[in-house]
């Protein structure tokens, strides 16, 4: 459209009619509404939660991911051709992968490969790390995963933190790590760990790594803050990496004895449900975890798993 000239009354009326007509057609269209219609569709569609369990010795993590996604209807249901996908793993600590402080690199690699198979244009890995980002990238294995899978590993830097309106109960305006917002699809890929303040750190708590600014002040009202963040980021999917979980000295850990093997992956489109199921791995009921109950109260999701399509995949 030529924008150099002021628009005439006639042209503006025409345009308005075109737009409203298109919207009307779209709203009453008989075709199923995927993609942009996600918000409307959600109210009708039931959410799902899938638990993948690797029981055979030496099972392939990537195979398990594939099975879990197949149970959810295939990656193609969530990632379309030409999408830019942002993945938010937890790679905040410069710790070896076997210490379970960070997302398992194999899980990360598996998800990226699936996204590319579904036709994603670009996959970005973005996390505002706690330790020095270069060391985190190198030691957690995220660097080599990015290189092998041809994903972008975004270096967290001040120019990529932009103040945005979060519309939260507690948080109003806060600097947000831009690549997580400027993406067509967002996948949350946390690792399950214990945590001194919030008891556990799972999917919802992982969003602390999606913001900048004075984020350590969020701990003063942590449950409300992270629920606000989870609402704001509203990921397409949450995949909790519980292949191995940290049961002591969380969230940083540091000893192999802090780690327990669970060989579990939890995939859901409901952030609260995913966390609720993962809490069970630690022997907690969802009611015991502040951000899970608060999440349900704020309408972020539900921890009543019976309301969702539940599936279990065993490899």
């Amino acid at each position: 459209m030529d924008m150099d000239y002021p628009i005439t009354r006639r042209a503006s009326l025409k345009r308005l009619l075109q737009i409203s007509g298109a919207m009307a057609c779209y709203a009453f269209s008989p075709w199923p509404l995927n993609g942009p219609g996600r918000l409307w569709a959600q109210s009708e569609k039931r959410g799902f939660i899938i638990e993948g369990l690797g029981q055979t010795k030496g099972y392939s993590v990537k195979e398990l991911i594939r099975k879990v996604f197949e149970a959810a209807g295939g990656i193609g249901r969530f990632v379309s051709k030409g999408d830019v996908v942002a993945i938010k793993p937890n790679i905040s600590w410069a710790r070896r992968p076997d210490l379970a402080a960070t997302t398992n690199p194999e899980v990360l690699a598996g998800v990226i490969e699936l996204c590319y198979e579904a036709g994603a244009k670009k996959v970005r890995i973005a996390d505002n790390t706690i330790n020095d980002a270069r060391r985190c990238f190198a030691i957690t294995g995220a660097g080599v995963v990015a290189k092998e899978t041809n994903a972008d590993l975004v270096y967290p830097r001040s120019s990529l933190m932009k103040s945005m309106k979060l519309h939260g109960h507690r948080l109003d305006v806060w600097p947000v790590f831009v690549p997580l917002v400027e993406a067509d699809k967002l996948i949350n890929l946390p690792v399950a760990k214990v945590h001194g303040l919030t008891t556990l750190t799972l999917g919802i708590k992982n969003w602390i790594g999606g913001v900048g600014g004075r984020r350590y002040a969020l701990h003063q009202d942590i449950h409300q803050s992270i629920v606000d963040l989870a609402r704001f980021f509203n990921p397409t999917l949450t995949l909790i990496d519980a292949t191995r979980i940290m049961i002591e000295n969380g969230p940083s850990g540091g000893r192999p004895s802090d780690v327990a093997m669970k060989n579990t992956l939890i995939l859901s489109d409901d952030q609260v449900a995913a966390d609720a199921l993962a809490a069970g791995l630690f022997g907690y009921s969802p009611e015991q975890i502040g951000f899970i109950t608060l999440g349900q109260r704020r309408g972020l999701g539900t921890y009543d798993l019976a309301q969702l399509d539940q599936k279990k995949v065993i490899l």
Binding site: R135, A138, I139, V144, R157, L197, S252, R255
Partner: protein, 540 residues
Amino acid sequence: MKARYLIWVRRISQAFFLILFLFLLVESRLPQDIFREYSLVFSSELDLKIDWPVGFFFQLNPLVWISSLLSGHHLIKGFWWGLGLLFITLFFGRIFCGFICPLGTIHHVVSWIKPALKGERMVRANQKTPSQRVKYFLLITLLAAALLGLNIAGLMDPISLLFRSVALAVLPGLGVGIKELFDWMANSDIKILSRLSYAGEVLVSPVFGYGYQSYQTAWFIGLLFLFTLFLNRIRPRFWCRVLCPLGALLGVFSRLSILRLEKDREKCTNCTLCTKGCQGAASPMPGQDWENAECLLCLNCFDSCPEGALSFRFGWPPALNRAPDMGRRAVLSGLLAGISIPFLGRLDGQVHKVADPRLIRPPGSLPEKDFLRLCQRCGLCMKVCPTNVINPTLTEAGIAGFWTPHLIMIQGYCEYTCTLCGNVCPTGAIGEISVKEKIERPIKIGSAYVDRGRCLPWSGNGPCIVCEELCPTSPKAIYFRKGVVTGPDGTEIPVQLPYVDLKKCVGCGICEYKCPVRGRPAIRVISAGESRSLENQILL
């Protein structure tokens, strides 16, 4: 050989070594694209290291190993490079100054771009003066002080000076400017500008990184560097002629030259072109005695002589050259200064009495006394530190330890599994340790304490526990107990109250750095408890 040809050999060599120096300087950091095969990392404790020999110029520098040998009785890693250079100097003169020294090259370029003087005045300026003895005075001061246990060679050593100036002042200064520009562009509403800023940032990040680097006293380091550059307005290569202690050392060693400036008195027409171009004020003109120890081997005289009266020739067997003109006064006052400085420097009690709580040395550092014997204050550890926590001291280490490294936890923190500073230290003042050693011994650099008056839970201002979350040791050195505090409005708040377990705390400072209580954090690290000291301890 043709003079023109030789002078280009010199220029190419100078350019090569300057670029090599700057390249190694830039590479003295963790690269952005550092990868580890995670299947390897799964099984072993691998240290992240820098692949390039970033300490090469310090190894090539004989002043570094002589001064650390005199003071620390310790031969530094790769000292034979410096030994080799001395051997070459013995026969070829100050070839290092003319062909290699990056600081010399910078001075050379600066005095060439805009010559300080013209014509006859330049000829007069290039006559040898007694001020050139100052460098011998400085050399003797530094070596005498080193012998008595205080190594201050690095304050004047050209390689240390240049590294410190470029790494701590010039690069961060430029970096701050560029980063401010990019941040401004990124925040602008014009899409193309923010796109450009992202691309530009990635482009410059290998050199400048992504953050705002900052160093205590960096402005002063930069100012001094500018001042040494400005000195070229008084005399060409003023630094090299008058001040450089390494030049003095090499001058002393150039006694046996087989490479000599041969002068043909017959051909000379007294045109003074040779003196006009002389960089070292080494009396190249026929009729004067060639000052072998002052000659920087720039070959300008050889090149500029229209009559062919001057030539550099190899002569065998080596004959003893003219002794460097040190002057008895310079020698005696140098000795006097060198003897007094170490003792005066200890008068503030930093070595023998109690240690400054702010003086947190990098992990693996030697005990304070030995540290001051070896530290060159070159800034390599500060450049390489990924969190920018290592900074030059101002008063923390006393006057004797000025510009030695220490950690300012409000600027950064010591990464729990990082050992880069010890890996690159050219003299071993910071010992080379492995990650395993750092964690398992453990190597402590200090200890944390909670300021209960400022701490949010302790002072009744709400829950927090960030320090406990970030504490890297396992089990955590910061633990909490559940408690009830009274809030400002009289209500009772259940909180988790942080405590420090001094046995486990390594003093890494991540708690202080990330504490949400800004200004003066509510948890702070002091040097007490550092494993390098027997005295500076808290626990039995």
